[in-house]
């Protein structure tokens, strides 16, 4: 084992472990504010594309043209990426975001499709008066 490692490797590993510990501490301290109501915000790039009320089960399609398509399945208390035209399919494997699980997920209340630049956010309502959200039936976009 000695031939694989040298003295300063321990320093490098120690620094990385320390960074992870600091990040974990910050996340624990800051935490998240819980809420009982939420809606879905869909972003393309950093532009807000649509806001969708949770509730009735349906599929929202984000079609950016040239074969770039993401389909989002909205459920009673959350959503997930049903399908995507991207090559790696990481967004589909990120599973469902719900009010019950978003604090425990790696990407918390987000689902990210980096190749198609589509991000989905579970916006937890803090109880303040919000303007009414546009209801989307099938969500096909005009680009």
């Amino acid at each position: 084992m000695k031939e694989f490692f040298k003295r300063k490797d321990a320093l490098i590993i120690g620094i990385i472990v320390l960074m992870v510990a600091v990040i974990a501490a910050v996340i624990l301290v800051i935490g998240t504010s819980g809420g009982t109501k939420a809606h879905l915000a869909i972003y393309v790039g950093d532009v807000l594309y649509r806001e969708v009320e949770l509730g009735e089960e349906r599929t929202v399609t984000v079609n950016q043209g040239q074969g770039v398509i993401n389909k989002v399945h909205v459920t009673r208390d959350g959503f997930y990426m049903e399908s995507s035209s991207c090559d790696n399919q990481d967004c589909v494997h990120q599973g469902e975001v719900t009010l019950d699980n978003y604090e425990d997920r790696v990407l918390m209340n987000w689902i990210v499709c980096l190749p198609n630049q589509v991000t989905l956010e579970l916006v937890v309502d803090d109880g303040a008066e919000e303007p009414p959200i546009e209801e989307v039936e099938d969500g096909t976009a005009e680009e």
Binding site: K6, K8, I12, I16, M19, Y43, N88, G95, V106
Partner: protein, 221 residues
């Protein structure tokens, strides 16, 4: 003005082979799911090829060319063109950091590999944050997970690279293990030479005449 020497056929062949190996390793690791769904987490097996280029060829230009070819060709062949942005960002930062850390005395190839893996993830996150907007807390959590994965995968690829160098040196493909410092090689060579001398002295018969004593007339030799 001094003209740079043209690439030898051997160098061209070697870099062609290394590029092919990096592409195959990148393709194979796409079938090994370490974590489902977390963007950017992978084994990084093709990093062992970059480490080989850095340590064996010693050519910085060659290592950069290898990285660019791997990113472009893998994007065109299987990873997808959209993924190239993130791969480039990660690849550039990773190679830069590995080349710098390699110069620091007291850091092994495993340490270099770990730093390269961490830098790769940092580069990817920076590129991702320019493309999509994520809150700071989510980015921080994502980065923490990537750090842990980089530590494990960097450790693994570093150990694999070191084992490959050892085996190639033992098999005579490489003249010596490039990760062993010249001072250590000299020490080991001296140790091995004195060990051989001790073994020869033990085997030598008791009645043998010392070489510096003159021969007797009756001595048949």
């Amino acid at each position: 003005m001094k003209r740079s020497a043209p690439l030898s056929a051997r160098s061209i062949a070697m870099f062609g082979l290394l590029t092919a190996i990096a592409l195959v390793l990148g393709y194979i690791e796409s079938f090994i799911p370490i974590t489902q769904g977390i963007p950017g987490v992978k084994l990084g097996l093709s990093n062992t090829v970059l480490l080989y280029a850095l340590y064996v060829s010693g050519s910085a230009a060659g290592a950069w060319l290898l990285m660019v070819l791997k990113v472009v060709l893998s994007g065109l062949l299987y990873a997808g063109v959209q993924a190239m942005i993130y791969s480039f960002a990660g690849g550039i930062l990773s190679l830069l950091v590995m080349m710098l850390i390699k110069r620091v005395p007291g850091v092994s190839i495993v340490g270099v590999s770990i730093c390269g893996a961490v830098a790769h993830n940092v580069g990817q996150i920076v590129a991702a944050s320019l493309v999509v907007t994520l809150p700071a807390l989510v980015l921080l959590r994502y980065f923490g997970i990537l750090l842990v994965c980089a530590l494990v995968t960097g450790l693994l690829t570093g150990i694999v690279a070191k084992s490959v160098f050892k085996a190639l040196a033992a098999g005579g493909v490489l003249k010596s293990d490039p990760t062993v410092s010249p001072a250590k090689k000299k020490k080991e060579a001296q140790k091995s030479a004195s060990g051989q001398a001790d073994a020869a002295e033990e085997k030598a018969p008791q009645s043998a005449r010392p070489a510096d004593l003159p021969k007797k007339e009756s001595d048949p030799s």
